[in-house]
Point group: C2
Chain length 438, copies 2
Amino acid sequence: MSDSLLLENGALWAGPDYYWPKGVLEIRNGKVSFAGPAESYRGREGFVGPRLDAGGGLIMPGLVNAHCHAPMVLFRGLADDLPLAVWLNEHMFPAEARWVNEEMTELCGLLAAAEMLLSGTTCVGDAYFCAGGAARAFERAGLRAVVAQGVIDFPAPGAPDPGRGLEVARRFVEEWQERSPLIRPALFAHSVYTCSPEKLKGVAALARETGAPWFTHLSETRDEVAQVRQTYGATPARHLETLGLLSGLQAAAHGVWLDREELELLAARGVSLVHCPESNRKLASGLADVAGWLRAGLAVGLGTDGAASNNDLDMIAEVRSAALGDKLKNLDPASLPASQALDMAWEGSARALGLQGRVGRLLPGFAGDAVVLDLDQPHFTPFFDAASALVYAGRGSDVRHAVVAGRPAVRDRQVLGFDLPEVMARVKSLARQVMGHG
Amino acid sequence: MSDSLLLENGALWAGPDYYWPKGVLEIRNGKVSFAGPAESYRGREGFVGPRLDAGGGLIMPGLVNAHCHAPMVLFRGLADDLPLAVWLNEHMFPAEARWVNEEMTELCGLLAAAEMLLSGTTCVGDAYFCAGGAARAFERAGLRAVVAQGVIDFPAPGAPDPGRGLEVARRFVEEWQERSPLIRPALFAHSVYTCSPEKLKGVAALARETGAPWFTHLSETRDEVAQVRQTYGATPARHLETLGLLSGLQAAAHGVWLDREELELLAARGVSLVHCPESNRKLASGLADVAGWLRAGLAVGLGTDGAASNNDLDMIAEVRSAALGDKLKNLDPASLPASQALDMAWEGSARALGLQGRVGRLLPGFAGDAVVLDLDQPHFTPFFDAASALVYAGRGSDVRHAVVAGRPAVRDRQVLGFDLPEVMARVKSLARQVMGHG
């Protein structure tokens, strides 16, 4: 079976409490069937399927990027270090209006998928327009994904008439509902300041009807909170609660400016938060109090956001930013320890995407979504503690292999699902057009 | 001549204002003799010396790490996520007392040098005890360095009698004064809270006498400022000024809690500051206002600090942390743009180490200290702007070659000066002893 795989000859870190210096990971039919110390593995003789030599490296669960706009890699570095309104209104929105279509989201989705797989991400929660393109790209790359079709009150790529945005979204969800074991379709209402109450209710109703989860951006900036308060007389989270929509919301991204009462409300309604520390810094949105979120009982995932506001899709760097940022927020070096920060990119992100119990661990029954890191490097020497090493000294380029549902998607840093050099050349060519040089 | 080299077949970024998509860098006798567009280079026929093919990558000045304690790589990840006093008093100080000696600083200096060269650093300002070991290591690795012997009021490795610490320092400076073109000896008074006024005056006098620059840690934490104020009735910077020592101070590391008046005082006295953003976050020291430092007219360099508080020595990540941190500090996405942050690791660090006009640029007359980055990667695709790409998406592993004074120290990611795998094995063995398993 091509979705069975035996990973051996490495340390196995199956989750925060499961570390074997010499471990074996057996995957059958896409799911973990054995995870444990090499000496207690008895299935080697009976295992039929390919083997992957970890080369003395570290086998661990693939990271889960819970908030991304993958096709925006096309706009990586197009307009940096600008005031938010200038960046958004003068650069991003016009570029999106002009260049985003299904072909673009597929092409750029492939590039983003490669970048994620090559830096240890095996599952992404992605939200963008023309979501079908990204879904096809992730499927081809072999990257697990919750792909959300964006809904907004403005004319958008693939939905020029905002009045028909929900129809476009319904079509996407229905098309992908049962199409691929790797892809789960979803909905993304852009925000409460870009979606009317009616639009938000429509998204929530479509989510209920189809069983697809829905997501939104929430309390990302102070300006947003002030603007929503002025328009609706309530903060963004309270506005959603008043509309009766918080209960069904799967997760909200950013949440930088949520107050304590709102955090408790979100926890009570079962809404997860997705922390995007690098984007929050680059766009100067602010520094979230993640330790406070966790104390409030919230499930907290981690995401890179799009590459136009990061500018990479490297989740290892994101985990580090989260861990270091919280120490700064609380002026306490013991705040958000490495292992807790890392688990935000495993279990936390899994919960944010509704995939808890399925990804984020390499225990029997979980998906066979694993990465292998090369530990034989100066920055991992010495190696006292796996969480500390990975979080405070690791980087995406340490990833040697990436496996999703038992199938290698990256082997020896080579993307297997498609011709990456060709995709890079096509993106560069498109980027030259974006710059007006094409 | 082995210190002449021709780098071609790449983009050449010789400094913030010098970028040629197809450039040539010619180094003769260790110094840049030509930097410019390939089509205007006329020296190819007459050039006698080896050539290095940049492979279509980016040739740029090596980064300058202006504050490091290189041998502390041995303690990388030994004790993380702990309150500062516990980390320092229960882990770092005892480990240093037990394990630091000339052999250790040489061995671990080699490992640190490899890590730095492999991540784009070609010059380091290092401060530690048993400085001779690190100096030998950097010389062997082919890494340019200002190596400072630490001076402190406690018994220290290599100087068990603090009363003779200045003698140890004098011996080190005299031994290295003329010994190697790559190594410049210096002095490091640990801090005003660990050095008496007499000790500080002794360091400053020795620096004046020998011409070696001296450095110190300054206003790193709020506690430090409070403690010094209580002991001496003045903040650390004002205490130094009262002692008449600010004028001769080359640079101070950290400076997180300096007030505006102190910044102006430092600027007036010609003291540079070295920003260490990742260490300041990991130890929860605070978030420095670097844009404010620059407005005050200060020269600002960048440093990683030691690997026990970072935990890597990757200057590209440090530049990103600086750029992102300042946006957060000022809640302004236009604060500390990528190019300005990067130049802190070129010109800023050069000034902090007293090497301005010698390193930080690849213009004629500057040292031939260059690195070549591999741009043919997903996270650099597309490539709209070099500063943005490097700062917001780059990582140390993008470095392919590193050249110091015209001699390759890293070629195709292989360290050339010594046997890195052997050094890593020896450090691992020593680390097992540190953990009590050796």
